[in-house]
């Protein structure tokens, strides 16, 4: 059974600081997703990581994937208040055929950025 664990679950940061959210998963997978969720809202897709060593960056966020270590990281650079949200990683349980999209999610990391 695939398990996905994020840490930390709660992260309080000062504006301007850097930090990393970690996502560990228990079985092999070739797809990992990062999502952002604002309170009361749906999920916003941030990154899709498709191969070992994949690195993607958008603004102050950078995500990477190490499939051998079964680890993905979401690095936040020079945090700003607008980044306050809940961040989820999710691993695809793809097992052949057309069954992409069956995701196992981490518990989520609640990020609060303070002035």
């Amino acid at each position: 059974e695939l398990k996905v664990e994020q840490n930390p679950l709660f992260l309080s940061m000062q504006e301007g600081k850097n930090y990393t959210i970690y996502c560990n998963y228990s079985t092999t997978s070739d797809r990992l997703y990062w999502y952002r969720q604002d309170p009361g809202k749906s999920l916003e897709s941030l990154f899709v990581l498709l191969s070992n060593g994949a690195v993607k960056q958008e603004g102050r966020l950078m995500a990477s994937l190490d499939t051998k270590a079964r680890l993905s990281t979401l690095h936040i650079t020079a945090a700003v208040h607008d980044l306050s949200a809940t961040y989820f990683c999710a691993v695809d349980r793809f097992a052949g055929g057309t069954s992409y999209g069956k995701l196992t999610f981490g518990q989520g990391t609640i990020l609060t950025v303070h002035p």
Binding site: S42, S45, V48, Y100, G101, K102, L103
Partner: protein, 113 residues
């Protein structure tokens, strides 16, 4: 602009009622999903469908059923709602071939009293 629409955003139902949650996508996607989100548990897959009239159980199918009569529409059915089904329900879709982006709807907040 891609769209996954969940027609009911907020519902309050009584225990034992039959509840329908509807989801429509306009992207001609083969794969559609229903997830449930609860605090501290993340999202969990209830059911998924990879074609019309095809369905597969996810991790927590008990107490739920689904219907996919048309490609664009995927319905989640609670046959007899219970208070432990109070949750936020998210529908998602993606193309079944080479796509890698999963599109989520806005969510349906269901309260069972």
């Amino acid at each position: 602009d891609v769209k996954v629409t969940q027609s009911s955003r907020y519902l309050v139902k009584r225990t034992g009622e039959k509840v329908f949650l509807e989801c429509v996508q306009d992207m001609d996607h083969e794969n559609m999903f229903w997830y449930r989100q609860d605090p501290g548990l993340g999202l969990r897959l209830i059911y998924f469908s990879y074609d019309v009239k095809m369905k597969e159980k996810g991790d927590i199918p008990e107490g739920y059923s689904v219907s996919r009569e048309k490609k664009e529409r995927f319905s989640l059915i609670l046959e007899s709602a219970s208070t432990n089904q109070t949750s936020m329900y998210l529908c998602a879709s993606m193309t079944g071939s080479s796509g890698n982006t999963i599109y989520f709807g806005e969510g349906s907040w269901l309260t069972v009293v």
